[in-house]
């Protein structure tokens, strides 16, 4: 269930890798549905506080990550439908970055620090 009742909104955190938004408890119970293989958040509160961020901006619900341009633009293609953040602050720990790279996931910070604009055509 991706729905989070309003009274839980203050516990919402966003995964720094895939930007999915869940509550701390949800991350504890089932981890990150997209990044669990390498972040291993389930039951690991330290990992959750390191790899997810309470500081995010823009809430995005996606029903179809393939079809939605928004999802593509947010690099959410292939992820599960659910609630994502548009911008996630925070710095992913180095070992998590390495783990992601090893898992074939190229980690791009979602905090706006990296320019993601399309390269200008010459």
């Amino acid at each position: 269930m991706a729905y989070i009742p309003p009274n839980q909104h203050r516990h919402m955190r966003a995964c720094m890798v895939c930007s999915i938004v869940r509550t701390f408890q949800q991350f504890m119970q089932s981890g990150c549905p997209n990044c669990e293989s390498f972040l291993e958040l389930t039951g690991n509160s330290d990992a959750i506080s390191d790899c997810t961020s309470q500081v995010f901006d823009g809430l995005l619900t996606v029903s179809n990550t393939e079809k939605s341009w928004v999802a593509r633009y947010q690099r959410l293609e292939g992820y599960v439908p659910g609630v994502y953040a548009i911008q996630v602050e925070g710095i992913l720990p180095e070992d998590a970055v390495v783990a992601a790279e090893n898992a074939g996931v190229h980690y791009i910070p979602r905090d706006g620090s990296v320019s993601e604009a399309l390269p200008t055509e010459g």
């Binding site: 729905y3 309003p6 393939e66 690099r75 439908p81 609630v83 548009i86 074939g104 996931v105 620090s113």
Partner: protein, 1023 residues
Amino acid sequence: MSGYDNHASDSDEDDFNPAPMVDEDDVEEVATNGNAKRKPSAGHENDDDEQGLARTQEGDDEEDDEEGAGGDEDDDDDEDDEDDDDEDVVQRPHKRRKKQRRNVFLDVEAEVDDEDEEEEEGDEEGGIEEVHPDDLDEQAGADLDDRRHRELDMKRQVDAQKDAEQLAKELDEKYRRREMQRAQKAAAGAVPLTLPTVNDPSIWVVRVRPGKEREVIMAIMKRIEELMNARQPVRVYSAFERFSSVGGYIYVEADAKQDMVSMIENIPNVFMGTPQIPIEVKERPDLLRKRAREPLEEGKFVRMLKPALYKEDLAKVVEVHANGLDCTVQLVPRLDYGLGEDANAGADGNKRKRPNFGRPTERPPPKLFNENEAKKRHMKFLNMAGSGGQKTFTYKGDDYQNGFLIKDVKITHVRAVDVNPRMEEMQFFSVTGADGTETLDLVAVQAAQKAAQTGSIFAAGDNVEIYDGEQKGVRGTTVSVRGDIVTLKVTEGPLNGRRIEAPVKTLRKLFRDGDHVKVIGGSKYIDEVGLVTKIKDDKVTLLCDSTQQEITVFSRDLKRAADSATLGNDSDFELNDLCQIDAATVGVVVKVDREVLRIIDQNANVRTLIHSQVATVIARNRNAVATDRDGSEIRNDDLVKEHGGEGRSGYVLHIHRGILFVQNRTETENNGVFVVRSTNVTTLAAKSGRTQATGPDLGKLNPAIQQGGPNGTAMPPPRSMGRDRLIGKTITIRKGPYKGLLGIVKDTMGDEARVELHTKNKIISVKRDICGVKDPVTGNTMDFGGKFPNRSRGGFAGATPAYNGGGRTPAWGGSGRSGPSWGTPSGGRTPGGPSWGGGRTPGWGGGDGSRTAYGGGDGSRTAYGGDGSRTAYGGDGSRTAYGGATAYGGNDGSRTAYGGSGGRTPGWGSAPSKSSAALSAPTPGAYNAPTPGGYSAPTPGAYQYSAPTPGPVDAPTPGNYSAPTPGDTAAHPTPRGYGAYGGGYGATPAAAPTPGAWAAETPYAGGPETPAPGAYDEDPRYD
């Protein structure tokens, strides 16, 4: 880097066989024209955008096994390429299957020949891959018809707006993007973002209740889940909010408006009333733009956003935590140490009542942590660790170090932009050096003001140096500044004489030792002017002209200066402003420094305050009025002279209650400003030809001529209390164009009356002194005693018949009697005082005058003694009052001055207690005794007083003359004066001024006396 190289190698590989790659993906998928278009574009990409293509390939690999080996390519080398090939081989069939399915579908719906259409269908298929084929069919059958028509319409509409060329371009682009998109999976990462096309779903903006955006999004999520669980198609692809930038809106992505509407319908907080507007294609990426947060750095100053207690307070970043989400800041605590606590709060700390909900409570002012304060009430909350200078406290769960609160906050709770630290905030953060001097951490200041670097700091003619970039080291003179670009004329080196442009941030100003420079910004030394003594990098040390201190500032904050320092011109306060310091204190600014004000307050204390400690400037009240010791009114800018004391004179700057702030420009202390009570000054000159006594009116002063009141000037300023009695009266107008007309006074304003005429229905304004009050019934003229003009003219006589009728009470009789006593001083005054004030001052003030009188006339004294008046006193019911006077005697006696004539004192002292007889008895004796001793002694000193004094005059005898004069001089006469006044006091309004003097000296003056002189009540000055 290896990853990047790898991409390059990948793309090399692509270059070898670009066509096959395309083929394998899309041959079946697209019609031939699409293929033709795609080829060049693919080539194009290879040129510009190798990475993209690399991704394209990787994407292929990862399409179906995201966590698989696909990612390894990023890290590993050529062997991966082989892997790639393998994987490609493996994957191809799978992909084909997918495409085939799509194609199958295409065939079914072949009536629409547009590729885009087909493309989209394909995508949709892909999107719901997991759905059972049956469902698929269902969906296709049920929905497609209607939807496709709508889509088609939509597309046509859009297409119709574009010319063919653009269309072609778009198609080209679209296909290129598509290709990449398909290849790109989220995990693949660094693929350039795809710009939206017209074929992507539309996005509508929907109005929602501000602050409820997230709830609405969650509600939509819930609906989507419900639909999915019900195995129903979800036709809204996404919905999102950007609360931080635009509140009150959410954005919904769907193919058709109807889909979007049905999704958001009946969701609470969605405003369906306002129409949903589609977002232009080219504006869509802006909706998702990420704004890089201003990076926090240690030592940087930030403003707090939360908690509310510290909102907008300045804080200094001590540490930024590794996760980038939290930081430790140092800020000046706002603590009340439990002073504001509700004493009735329950033991569990629950307040019985919520402190004013919704309204911001008053915050304690920022102050550094004070251990002692905390100990007073909250010892239990206080823990300390460390020792010496590094003592840290834990108080109520917060850490305090060096008086600062050390707090961990989320980075969202601070703001790093628009910090603009103010000087008074910065002073807390100043670093105290070993020698006790406080200096600001220049680096920190610089960090705080980094953003402020603009071209405005350069002015034409500045010597500058380029210190960064290719042209580093080039020196020149600025010619012009446009935005952030400075044009400079090179003055040294090979480029000499050339004009070049350079961005502001690569420039720094160049100064030489000995340059006369002015600080133009950036530090607390703004506007200081000085000589450059040392230059190190971009830090310049200069010797201030004004303070002769050396200060160090950044060269960019300097400019060459020819002028001298003008400090503090950006202050809210100006010299001579009247300021409210606290609720009970006001003061006048006598010095404005950049950071501090020197203020002389109403008690004549000079305080040094920082600007923020001074509440407000009190606007100068033009109507402020006070009365001097004579009862004359004092207004701003009048020239007044202090009575007694140093006899200072000056122009009235401000009048506050009974206090005058007077400025004498010839004095330097406190900018010439001094504080006096209004009752301690005499008016020398009024500012504007206001009616003012120009000198003593001898006639009025002479009691023989002026029966009742001694003089007019001593009268209280005319004023009417409450409702004007003239209002409602029937009057006739005695003069002017309306002469003779009858009317009713409707209203009065000052000396004018608004009169409603009986004859005409008209209201006119006439001077009230040309109104004769008539009895409305009989038409007879009525005496209107309380009339304004009467009062002012007739003075007490008019107002209080009691005066005239001295007979009323023996006490009043005294007034008659006081005549003589008065006579004496006034007589003395008259001749003696070329200046009214001067003459009188001695007489009345410290009792000098009275003294004089006495002294002057030993004979008069005698007269006094023998005076019926005295007797009257004795016999007077006001004797009691006299007793008060006695008290004076006592006082006087206690006064040192009096001591001189010790003999007298006792005489007086006893007098009161005794009967009138006793009074009269001591009087002469007392006087006589002191006369020689007391008088002679003081003579020389106070001569000035005596000079003008009555002494000469009233002392009819030359012999007396000399004798009394000294008496005057002596301060002692006071008591006598008092005594005399005691008599004459109530009786003679002239005595009025005296109280002023008394008030100063003997606070109770009013008290005991009051009863006797009923006249006081009439006299506002005594209030």
